[in-house]
Chain length 230, copies 4
């Protein structure tokens, strides 16, 4: 069932390691079939190099396992909540990539200092608040998803133009059209975070990219008249 989706999710998870984004098993990718209302996600703690498409766990939008012998990623309920809330996304990636995680740990949103960032994220990548003890106790992973969705609602953010968030004290989540696209956004986020740390080191009072250049770069790649790519 959903063999093509499993294959795609398996490859996307393996790219976490081959791209250098994660060490050990610090990350997971999922992808959804919106017609069937089922998403697939990495099984927990399995080494990327050993991962096989048939090990991808299939889950419905009520959170029930539809197929799979292995326990799904411990972060599954965060993925579930995002898929439930945002119809427009088709894939989600969670990593602990070094530099993006550094911003999450430093409790700083990621400023948009240049066009590399503008090409992927329309403005500052937001920092989502940490959960309080009760939220953690009741449903840590589910409430993480709730907090992210609320943050986007309360700040008027659109998950299409801002496909990333930094979870305070924790690490980033990114999303996209599908599993592969969500990994691309994790790769871009990590590069932007690394550049931003250096930018702040060279010029601590750096200001964000001017609005008209942010606009231009984002639109030429993602706008109605985009002319980037084929």
């Amino acid at each position: 069932m959903l063999d093509e989706l499993r294959q795609e999710i398996c490859l996307a998870n393996q790219e976490l390691e081959t791209s250098g984004l994660v060490k050990l098993t610090f990350g997971n990718v999922s992808g959804i079939d919106r017609d069937k209302g089922i998403f697939g996600i990495k099984p927990s703690g399995v080494a990327y190099a050993d991962l096989k498409p048939e090990q991808i766990v299939l889950i419905d939008l009520e959170g029930k396992i539809v197929e799979g012998d292995l326990r799904p990623s411990s972060d599954t309920k965060t993925h579930l909540k995002l898929y439930q809330s945002w119809q427009s996304i088709g894939g989600i990636t969670h990593t602990h990539s070094i530099h993006a995680t550094t911003f999450a740990q430093a409790e700083c949103p990621l400023p948009c200092f240049g066009t590399t960032h503008a090409d992927h994220f329309y403005g500052e990548v937001p920092l989502c608040r940490a959960l309080d003890p009760e939220e953690v106790e009741i449903d840590y992973e589910g409430n993480t998803g709730v907090a992210i969705v609320q943050h986007f609602e309360q700040n008027g953010l659109d998950p299409i133009t801002m496909p990333a968030v930094l979870q305070k004290h924790h690490a980033p989540f990114t999303w996209g059209k599908n599993a592969k696209d969500s990994v691309k956004n994790s790769i871009a986020l990590e590069v932007c975070a690394k550049m931003a740390i250096g930018t702040l080191q060279l010029a601590p009072a750096s200001s964000p990219i001017p609005a008209h250049i942010l606009e231009k770069h984002h639109q030429r790649k993602h706008g109605a008249n985009a002319y980037y790519g084929q």
Copy 2:
């Protein structure tokens, strides 16, 4: 047509990824045949590993596509403007390499702190101003080329001895005798930028390399009596 040139440009583009300079599709290389007045450039958004010589887009010096089914790099008009203005260059590379881009984002020119830099760039690598909203609106990529050429003219810079520029808020462009040579200059620029960040961290008041050592290193590699290489 121009099969050898396409082959060379294809390999030079692939070196962007294998050398670690770029992630995803953050960069492009072009090369020109001056006799024919035609340059070839990477198609937009195509993965480096998948790139084939026959996909290189051929363009004349008026900016018309001569051959190629794919849309050329979105930065094509910047390359075009540089080829039009500078007869002496044969190849151009644009990357978002981490440390060179960090200087562009921090709005700092790259000081010449040592011989690694002097071997490739004759002095401080300049920072070119950002475009204003009107310039962006009318022709972003073309006007980027115009601004770079103006910066060199107004500051008495020679594109032969200074084969690089940092575009403010954006990223570097480098050039050279041919496509491959322009990639070499991007590699050297990235190394120099990484060293410069560390140099400023260790000694924030670092002064540039003394003039006589800059002169010696540049001349032994590039001067009339150069004795570097074969």
Copy 3:
């Protein structure tokens, strides 16, 4: 004798190099068979790529070589002391990995700034004092082990929940259930140290992760009701 253990230790040592944790021969891994009371350790100064299982030196818990033609790692007596004192550990790794060693050199314990750290180490990774001249003179490597064990006793630390230490002016030691697990902890430690340096750079007054999130992340992976992994 103990062919399986030797094989495992050999592979774990080779992972030091392939994972990028060590250069040259800056590290060693050991593993113990508790039933036989014998541990195996890397021979001193042998290149990882050349290492063969039959070269692993077997040593009993009184420190006598049971089998092996080569001289064991110069750090053998530190490993011996930890195995003697801590029945719960099955493998030990010593590296000079860049960022963890940087904390040891800066004489700073490694704060727990996020969940990556909490997933592996239950709180701040301790800094063990340096030896005094007499301790160095009498038995440098053995007394290093003594100092580590004392530090854990005096500070109420449990080697199971805190499988790492930073030896002041020197470098980290990590341990785990077996040789492979101790290498995993060295990899995790290095990632956490790299992130912590960046965190302190971005926000010098960063505070540790809130206690309830530390607790949650550590327990979901290592607690009685852990639900991470298979």
Copy 4:
């Protein structure tokens, strides 16, 4: 002639690239046969991957080319001067490795902050002065060697226990028993420089390793009663 030496020097040069120490052609290794009074060195500007043993240029101790069709490294006269002055060394490596070069550019000697450093370099790695315009004009590369040798004499440094120097505004030179050993020292130097930058970032007032630990680590690896290695 000297086929084995050429082979060894060729491999040592290639290790500059495979170890990540150099990009492009930013480095060279030589090795000497003391009985014959002839050393071999990399030809200038040849890519490491293309280098063949028969391309290694053989030079006598008066600086005359004994065998070789290619122009030797532009730094040959620095190597020559060191071989002439220091009978005890058998190989020399010059790189522009990122972090060691950063110290040279920042005009800082490299402090000994830990045992990784003490294992290879007996104390602070010295910074050699830059040449004045006249010295550069007359014989840049030869006078670089003269300045290094003078620095060691005037500061009572022994090239055996201190197999490295940082040339101000330029980059490091290391040496050793033979070509391969000199590359090892370049690798160790780069690691120590990277750690030292981080150490100073975490704790700007860091003090060097205590003398008794420096002594112990250096002696257990290099002293009369060394017990490191086989």
